[in-house]
Every structure is written in C-alpha cells, then in structure tokens.
Symmetry: none
Subunit: 209 residues, 4 copies
C-alpha cells in the first residue's frame, strides 16, 4: 500500500505489535488495532492491504530493525570474538525493549500467498546470513570450528530464543555473557565460566527470586 504518512504507518505497526504479542493472530481484531492506534479502521487498510499483510509487515519491521542494528557492527572490522559478545548482548537488549518481538518471531509460518511473504523470506535469509557470517569470521580467526557455520547459527539463535522466551523479565545482568559462554565453550566445562554469574542476578531470578 502506498504509505502516505510514514509516521502513521509505524503508529499502526506499533499498536499491532503490542496486540499480536499478547494474543494469537485470530484473537486480534482489526477494530482493536485501530482503536489501539487511535485511527479509524479504514485507515489500517490504507496502509496495509489486509490483516495478513499488516502482520507480515510487523514481523518484517521487527527483523529489519534488529538486522540493521547489528549489521553495521558485524560487517565492519574488529575482533570477531568481541563482535559475537556484542551481538548477543544486542539481541538480549532488543528483546528487553521489544519483548513482543520474541513472540512474533516464532510465529513466522508458511502462511498464505501474500506477495510480501517473499519480502519476509528475504529479511529472514538476510538475518541468518548475518549470523552465519559472524560465525565464519570467528572460524577464520581460528576461534571456532569452520564446519557447519549455518547449524551453529541456528543453534545460537535457538539458545537465545529458548532462554529469553521462558525466562521472565527483568533478566539478570550477564545473561548475554552466560549465553556466549555456553555457545562457545559448552555446558560441560561451564563451571569456571559461570563463576562471575553465579554471584550476580542470574542465580537469584533463576532460583525463583
């Protein structure tokens, strides 16, 4: 749709994000989104062809934002190991700020036939390429295995997702670092790596406080 006023387009997206994060797709009514965004229902359809496209735009927007945040740094020069730490930190922070995105990202599905579905595929591919690229940089610096960087990327994202999704906010400090350690060094020899975390906020929250 020809977005006339970009600001309003984002206003709608933001309202939708909050609702789609709390409720399932079919539980969110266009009326609700409109009311939440403070616009008329018809306006939604000026900016997005239909409910599905609004939903896709939302997911794409989220991925895009995260991608753009990370891209500049990862693509640039620098120590790959530090880049990885920063990257994880960044995602954790992004989720802290936009917790609903965590819910949205996992609802990406083989939906209909919308044209903008292709756009989503693109951003997603772009995103995974970025993560894979980061891991390749590590491998090039001999900091990790050069085998299956793609699987490693999936694993990394899986860890982050799995932990953040089921750990209630606010998350403890050093969570990002803990994730880094697990990904790089594994849980088997995690004792020494976790030492600095065991005294921090993680242990508290994880043990039910």
């Amino acid at each position: 749709m020809r977005t006339c006023d970009p600001k309003r387009g984002l206003l709608i997206l933001d309202a939708a994000a909050q609702l789609f994060a709390k409720h399932r797709y079919h539980e969110v009514r266009m009326d609700d989104i409109a009311a939440h965004a403070g616009v008329a229902k018809g306006t939604l359809y000026r900016y997005y062809k239909d409910k599905e496209e609004l939903y896709l735009a939302l997911t794409i927007h989220g991925l895009q934002g995260l991608y753009e945040e990370a891209h500049g740094q990862i693509a640039g020069p620098g120590d790959p190991d530090q880049k990885l730490r920063d990257f994880i930190e960044r995602i954790v922070r992004y989720y802290e700020q936009y917790p609903y995105f965590l819910e949205l990202i996992q609802r990406i599905e083989s939906s209909g036939s919308s044209t903008s579905l292709a756009a989503l595929q693109d951003v997603r591919a772009q995103w995974f390429e970025l993560v894979t690229d980061l891991i390749k940089q590590l491998a090039d610096a001999d900091l990790c295995s050069a085998e299956h960087p793609d699987l490693a990327a999936l694993a990394l994202v899986g860890i982050i997702r799995g932990i953040l999704r089921f750990t209630p906010q606010p998350w403890p400090d050093h969570l990002a670092e803990w994730i880094y350690d697990l990904f790089m060094h594994g849980h088997a020899r995690g004792e020494q790596n976790l030492s600095h975390v065991g005294n921090g906020a993680i242990a508290q929250s994880a043990r039910g406080k």
Copy 2:
C-alpha cells in the same frame, strides 16, 4: 471430553495434528479436521468441547508422548552422559517421525481461559523438570556445571528446536551427536568434534565412545 471411543479420539487428534502443523490455528477449520479424520463435524464436539480444547489436547498429547518415551530411561539408573546422548537422539527421532510436533510445540501460548490450559502447563512443567533433572544428574556426576541447570535445560531445548525447525529434512547423520557436542563442549573447540558430521561416524572413538 467424554471420550467414548478412544480410538476415534486419537484418529481426530492425528488428523488435527497434520493440519495444525501445516497451517496456523485460524487457518484450520473444524470442517477440515472432520473431513481429514473421516468423521462428521458434529462428532468432533463429542470428543472435544471446542476448537481450543482440541488444539490443547493435541499439544498435550504430543508433549506427553515425548515425555513418556524419555521418562523411563532418564529416571532409571545409568550413565548420565549416555542418557543425555540418548535423550537428544530420541527427540530428533521423534521430530523426524512427527515433524508437525515441532511446529505445534512453539505455538503454546497464553491462549484463552480453557480449563485444560492448566493441564498443558502441567505437562510442560513436567517436561522441563525432566530435562533439568537430567542435567542435574550430569552435574552430580561432575560432568558439567552445577549452576543453573534450568537455564541449561532451556538452552538445550532451544538448540534442538532452532536447528530442527530450520534445517530441511533429511537431516545429516549424527545430527543428534553434533547437538550433544555443541551443548557440552561449545562451538569454540568444535572443530575436531564436528569433523564426522555428514561424513559418517568417524570421530566417535576420538571422544572415547
């Protein structure tokens, strides 16, 4: 949910599983499920109160099945390290056989107010307790860190989910083992461990197995 003929109840569940795996909740119509199961639409309502309950029953059934498969072995005696390897292997196989479950498991959401929602929470808790327990066994045997077994459990499940979900089948041989390695030893020193993935079972002896 006065299940009259249990066989028919499962028939319905199975039909529903296939549809819910391929399409989103709101895209699956009760008509479709009925047609797929070869029963009349009204019959669905003899076995499940409504669409939501059918959906929950489906997820619970899947989790339960996986839980029961794993429980006997994990709870029993034996080498914790071997148990973990077997456990991962088991999940990978389960997903190989019931790929739709992979989709279903991540759709567990803060749904409505259904009474059987509690049942789902229970199975899920039960399931995570099982995984956490396994990791504790490892820690007791001094095979891994004793800190944050719950976070480690989330990470493990996250890795598995992340990889299986986005890796098209057929999966490479020894995928389960690769996951085990990553989880236990991390990606940093993964080079030697990964050599066998996709090339057959070469590196098994290298790690003393």
Copy 3:
C-alpha cells in the same frame, strides 16, 4: 454450491427475486434476502457462493422457466402463426405472474468473472434461438419475411418488453393480440387490427383509467 434441499434453494431464489425486482443490486442486502426467505444469512451461502451468484442464479432460473414453458410448444408441430400468438400470450402471462422478472431480464450485464456467467449466456442464447426459430417457421410457411429472423426476434422481444415495462398492471385483455398485430402487420395499417381492442380494457388503461 451443492444444493442440499432444492425446495429451500427455490425459496431463497423467490425471496431474492422479489427484492431484486423492487430494488437495485446494491440496495438489496443479504440480510434482507435471508429475512425474506425465513432462513439464516449463513444458509444463503450454503446454496449460493456469493451475492453475485445468487443474482445470476435468479436470472437464469427466470429465463429457464420461461424457456421451458415455451419450448415444448414451439418445437412441436402446429400452425406457426398460432404458435406466435400463443408465445406472445405466454410471455405476457408470465410477466403478469412474475412481474419482477421483467426488471431482472434487463439487468443482464457484463458482470464479473463468475463461472455461472457462462451458464447465463447459454440460457440467453438458447432463449433467442427459440424465438428466432419460431420466426423461421413463420417464414417457411410463407407467413413472413425470411430475411433477418434474428433481428425480427430482437424486435419482437423489444416490443413486448417496452410495452409491458412501462404499462402499469393490470394489463388490458388482448394486449398480447395487439402486440401480435403490431409485430406482424405494423402500425401503419393498425386501425382495423386494433378495432377489437379499442373497445376493451386497453384503451381505458392507456388513457389513464
């Protein structure tokens, strides 16, 4: 649509006919049709895919009915001249009974892309073929010109339509006969042909009584 209960299908069609005759397409709401037919709105969609198809079915049904009434007699043996008289009579009567059809017939248009649009074309072609055939029979019996039977058919239907549509009911007796005379002998020498009508009801109604 798989018409389950044909009786109900006609019930709906009949209700729709009355409404479409009095109001324009966009002025008739599906709610109205449902209420008029004494069924629920959803039922309409069991029998007809959408509003357009319901509308087309209606027109087709009307044409079909008129066609079938006339076909048997025209196709059979007999005096062509008498057949023509009977035919006109028949249409006039049909319109008397189903005045709404008069309105519907002229709304046949190059509408959407519905598949049943083809069906409509068929019935219409069938119908005009019937009239043309009748005129050819007259020509074969040397009762009229053999030239342009198709144009003559169009003219005949045009006369009937033009008169009936703008003449308020109840129509005078012998109207059909007057039409026959005009079509066959023209208005120039109409005086003697109309003699029997001038004393009937036509003159009364036409002159404003």
Copy 4:
C-alpha cells in the same frame, strides 16, 4: 449541484458515462470516476451531491441531449412520415456515437429518494410525449392508426432498444430504415421491404420513396 465550472461538470459526467456503461452502479466507485475524469474525488462532490445524483444527472443529460436533437425537427412543420424516418435514424446514430447511453437508459429504476429523481421523470415524460406526438402527427395525416399512440410509442422505442442493444456494432446499413419498415408495415409483409437491408438501398423506390 452548484456547478462552478460547467466544463468540468461535463468532464465528470463524461467519465462517469463511460464507466456506468460498462459496469453496474455498485461496481463503479467514486474513486474510479474521479481518476477517469482526472480530478480529485472531493471535486465530484462540488458538482454533484452524491453518487446517486451524479448518476441521475448523467441519465438526464443523455435523455436531454437526445430530446433536444429531435425536438426541433419533430415539433416543426414537415412530412410526418419523413419525420419518423429521420427520428429513428437519429436515435440509431446517437446510439452509434454514445453506445453507453443505451446501457444507461435501461437502468432507470425506482431508485432512492433523491430530489433530482423528479427531474428525471420529467425528462422521460417529455421524451415519450415527443414520440407520442410524432405518432399522432402520423395519425392526423392518416398514415397510421389513431388508436393508442402511447402504446405505439412504447413499441417503437422497444424495437429500437431491443435491436440496438443486442446487435453488435457495426450495425448493418439501413438498419434505421428496416426498423421503420417493421414498425410501420410489420414483419408479415416484410419480405420485399427487407430485401435491401445489408444489400444496399435497393427497395427504396418500391415503397415510393
């Protein structure tokens, strides 16, 4: 309807005419008309109160144009028979030039409550009076029946309409003359009169013209 710039008013009317001729009332959107006329949507409402009035103005405009073309000649002195021939010729030509009018004219319906509906009734009455008047002139000159000039008028218009509407352009030569013959002399003795249709103007002298 405070028409500010009459030229623009006609521009809109012309754009609307083309669209309403090809599509049904509810299929034509104000957006379409505006786009077609090259003006903004809001402008339409400066010239016409609402969609209905725009539609009525269009029909009235068409009828008015046809009326004005014909009026001067019919009302003036001259041979009634020749006037009739000219009249039919004129309508055929008018339709040839503005085929959409043929579609519009038949969509005059018991529409809403618009005030300008009365105006339409007026033009229509005016129009039929003109035709009826012409036929009365013929009767006065003893060239046709003096009975039911109103019915004859309806029949004449019906013939023209019926033929033009369903005969694809380009129409055969002398179509107007053929219509004249049918109306005046009927189809029964049409054989000699019709011979020239499509074969050129042969039979003119035969009828003393």
